[in-house]
Amino acid sequence: MSGKGSGSLADQATGKSSANLSILGVALGILTAIGGFVDIGDLVTNAVVGSRFGLSLVWVTVLGVVGICIFAQISGRVAAVSGRATFEIIRERLGPRASLLNLLASFFINLMTLTAEVGGVALALQLASSVHYLAWVPVAGFAVWLVVWRVKFKILENVTGLLGLTLIVFAVCLFLLNPDWNHLFNQATRPAVPEGEAPATYWYYAVALFGAAMTPYEVFFFSSGAVEEKWTVKDLSQSRLNVLVGFPLGGFLSVAIAACAAVVLLPAGIGVTSLSQVVLPVAEAGGKLALAFVIVGVLAATFGAALETTLSSGYTLSQFFGWSWGKFRRPVRAARFHLVMILCLLVGMGVLATGVDPIKVTEYSVVFSAVALPLTYIPILIVANDPDYMGRHVNGRLLNFTALVFMVIILLAALAAIPLMLLSGAGA
């Protein structure tokens, strides 16, 4: 999910500028946040859930979107006020041992997500070309590396974010499918475990959806992106707007994906096990043109997220060990940062080369994300309350209260994830 570091783009690029340009900047930031919100985890999990549970888990997507809004906004503020990425402060404030737990959890989940995203890029290319995805894995990995190495931060973020907007075709196709809206509305507002599904499976996918919406790499990317783009306190309102408008609209895309699956795949009894099934409803409703759009969208979403997870692997490790990092430095000035990213890409490609199903990797990555969530989010909450870093911009009472309520949900999801996985046979 991207959209994160999309600060005050146009107005920064052109200096302090007229109202027109800053409206453009706001619009661009929000559009990038929407288009970049969806990644392979959201695509797959929403389609799987839609095809099996209809819209009866939409409440989890809503919950997850609220959660990511809260914590992305907090970590963006920490970065803008302190001028430092959240993870650097966590390392400094909590000490090496407490933050090592945080690092390990986040880093491995991130690596798993990176693997899933690169696999997603390869699967999207397979859809477009009919060439087996394994042949595309090296191409995808190389392309990700090249962009991370050469392309400016703002460009890589905005291009993938804006192209990702083509996923709106899911929403368009939902209308073309002319569904029974009442029925969908009832599913969404009166959630129940559908007949033939075990409660453990329902709750397993609830945790997976929650993990997909709140994947830890998002906040690391978001706060590091804020440093890349040199946010200051002045950019706070823009960043808040990007998050609070962009992410919910991105969440709306997630719901559209689930709804398309609920309308087409659920009645036909098709369970989603491949990317072609994720886009099947779009092809059925909108034909070739819609299919072309959705392939571009999936490619942009997964490629964008592959860039973000690759960068996040470099960010987390460099920030923990105090190496210089960032796209704003030339690679030779941040050598270890770039080396980490290359190694992580190679590991991800190596895992995919074993022939493991990228869709399965995705499903596991979102569940393990849920397990790691407390380790990511508790430290962020602590540093956002630290007046030494935040001055008068520490969290307010209401925000702390809301964040703590979410922390309880996050803890419950984390504790329940593995038992539910065992009980439900990983959602089988």
Binding site: R93, L94, G95, R97, A98, I378, L381, I382, N385, D386, P387, D388, V394, N395, R397, N400, A403, L404
Partner: protein
Amino acid sequence: MILSDLLTAKVFDDAGVRLGRVIDGRFALDGRPEAEASLAQARLVGLLVSPHSRGSYLGYERRDLNAPWPIAKLERWRHRGSFLVLWEDLHSIDDDGVHLRAGFTRHDIRLG
């Protein structure tokens, strides 16, 4: 010696009774005017000793940090009974840990 050698080391009083573990060091920046404080050499004032936990205090040793409330409460409970012992009150450091002088003082751990 580096501080990592001392962190989590056991702390004993002069009678050999175990008091807890070193969870942090407390430093002072002095000898320079405030504007140049970052140039000052950090001076080790003493060690923070916690009887129940070897984990970090996560910053909640500061008096003005009370939010978010449940986490602050939890950290203060985890580190209840912890104290600051001045460097002058150390008798020796060996493989067993840190040994304090007879008549050492337990200083308040809180900052600010």
